[in-house]
Amino acid sequence: MTTVAPAGSRVIFERPELLIDRSTHYCPGCGHGVVHRLIAEVLGELGLGSRTIAVAPVGCAVFAYDYIGVDFVEAPHGRAPAVATGIRRVRPDAFVLTYQGDGDLAAIGTAEIVHAAGRGELLTAVFVNNGIYGMTGGQMAPTTLLGQRSTSSPGGREAAFHGYPIPMTEMLAIMPGVAYAARGSVVDAPAIGRTKQYLRRACEVQLEGRGFAIVEVISNCPVGWGMTPTESIERLRDVVAKQYRPGVIVDRTGEG
């Protein structure tokens, strides 16, 4: 850290050591940067930076390795939980973290996430759900809400035509291998603070050897949603959070 506080003052906010000092490629207002920062803070506070092996997804967050200063492996689309399983099994001393978006985790990667959770793999999965395919230009995702417009549901998502949004984290939470599942949000500072606590707990669950842990973070995609950053945060608060309710979904560690 290079921050130097002038005499008589104290540092109350600084860049976490594991967050690389670099402008991100994310669009203005995007929530990924917030989630990256929280991960960097938690890994730093738990002293895990030197033994973390993280797995990057396909999608906007593939570049997570450019911003979070730990070892990374790039997974094929949706396969991060399988890649992480391989890492876990041969490197028992590593801290293993996956980072996936909703297209990656809830569409093409459903088999991999379900079975990693079913096996109770000692992994910490971060699932950023912004309800849309951002990188490819705003197509409908499995998590896209009913009525939501996207470039591949131009009239809005209709249950009879496109099917229903998939509540992935609730589905995963019913399995006994899942020790901890929670849903956070990037909507405002208190929500971000709670999300950090969920992430921290999900990391501790792995360190304690209790089983699979997942934190879904509902986030915004201003460009994909066709909104200003402010409008997208309002929608996240008023619409998305009503459907994907933040909170701890399951805690089988006996400490929740």
């Binding site: 092996i53 492996v73 790039e74 399983t85 391989g86 890492i87 099994r89 041969v90 991999e112």
Partner: protein, 376 residues
């Protein structure tokens, strides 16, 4: 179906034992220092997975039966990205699913050994022995400009020996390596003299194990800038050129004075050997050219052998795939005939002898010319 033939404790280096191919390959991988195995059941390679399910835990090493072939190979990708020596096995339809990760591993330069115990296709096809995945192994599988070394054993003993070589090649060149076997090699039992070998471990400078005390590393195949990606492709092509120059393997039998040369690998080479013995007894001067590396293909060596022969006969358990590389190798200077069966059928030695007689007749009726093409 568990058909373990032998308790592993009795498998000592130098002993001669009767073993099933799938189990022999599995044990050879364990003795070659395989750190982890990931698989998914499919006929005719299931005994390899079953052997690993029992043996890897005995050795204190990871075994995971994955949710799919996608899961299996991506677990392998993750494990191998940390520098572990990893084996994956499957059969043809499963290899198609694994093609995705093969491309990623070739791009990210991740070593791994992948056994394909080939069965008949296309589609679900059948479960009989086949060599119909030659194109896939040597020219295809995933997307992008890449090649991977392909080793083709023709006996169970050779398959065991090639396992250690495959890990060595994979690690030396940072590449996936195929062992291309077929259902016969996987399912058959034959006497093998056990020769186990564990290649030395070489410290690497690329794998990820946690950034402890150094700059973080990324194992990746993505290079979004066209200039960067072209540079990466040039690096890969230079590596493929080096493999092509240094790692070609083949074996010859009865090539001295041979007019007619059978080109065959794997189980087809076993049939060819029998056919050649019969043909020679019937007065034909026939020999065998057996590629062991299908990529890099022994083109130069074959061209040299072909220059002294009247004609070549390619024998395959396919509708004719390697024969294209044979024709490319001789560039029309030697007639090339083909004899093959598909769908799990194996050419009989009698069929191959007849094909040799046809080739003999066709190539002695008029002088072998630069443009002659002989087809059965």
């Amino acid at each position: 179906m568990t058909t373990a033939t032998i308790p592993p404790a009795t498998l000592h280096h130098g002993h001669r034992v009767l073993m099933k191919g799938n189990e022999a390959m599995a044990e050879a991988a364990i003795r070659a220092g395989c750190d982890a195995y990931f698989g998914y059941p499919i006929t005719p390679q299931a005994e390899l997975l079953e052997w690993m399910a029992r043996r890897m835990p005995e050795e204190g090493r990871p075994f995971v039966q994955a949710e799919s072939e996608l899961g299996a190979i991506d677990m392998a990708l993750g494990a191998a990205a940390t520098g572990a020596r990893v084996l994956v096995s499957s059969s043809s339809p499963g290899i198609s699913l694994m093609a995705e990760a093969m491309s990623y591993m070739a791009g990210a330069e991740i070593p791994m050994v992948l056994v394909n115990v080939m069965r008949g296709g296309p589609g679900l096809g059948g479960i009989g022995p086949s060599q119909a995945d030659y194109f896939q192994a040597t020219k295809g599988h995933g997307h992008g400009d890449y090649r991977v070394p392909v080793l083709a054993p023709s006996s169970i003993g050779e398959a065991m020996a090639l396992m250690a070589d495959a890990f060595e090649l994979a690690e030396r060149y940072r590449t996936p390596v195929f062992i291309l076997a077929d259902g016969t090699l996987g399912q058959a039992m034959e006497p093998v003299e056990l020769h186990f070998r564990e290649p030395a471990r070489v410290a690497d400078t690329w794998s990820v194990r946690g950034a402890d005390g150094r700059q973080p590393r990324v194992v990746r195949s993505m290079h979004l800038e066209p200039e960067d990606l072209e540079q990466h492709n040039r690096h890969l092509q230079a590596k493929f050129a080096e493999i092509s120059a240094r790692e070609v393997r083949w074996a010859g039998e009865n090539l001295e004075g041979a007019d007619l040369v059978i080109v065959a690998y794997g189980t087809a080479a076993r049939v060819a050997r029998t056919a050649i013995a019969r043909a020679r007894a019937e007065g034909l001067r026939a020999g065998l050219f057996r590629p062991i590396t299908l990529w890099p293909f022994p083109s130069a060596a074959l061209a040299e052998v072909a220059a002294r022969a009247r004609g070549l006969l390619t024998v395959e358990l396919s509708a004719g795939q390697m024969v294209e590389d044979v024709r490319l190798a001789v560039e029309g200077r030697t007639p090339v005939a083909f004899e093959g069966r598909t769908g799990g059928m194996i050419p009989t030695p009698g069929e191959v002898v007849e094909a040799l007689h046809r080739l003999h007749a066709a190539t002695t009726a008029r002088p072998a010319s630069a443009t002659m093409e002989v087809r059965p």
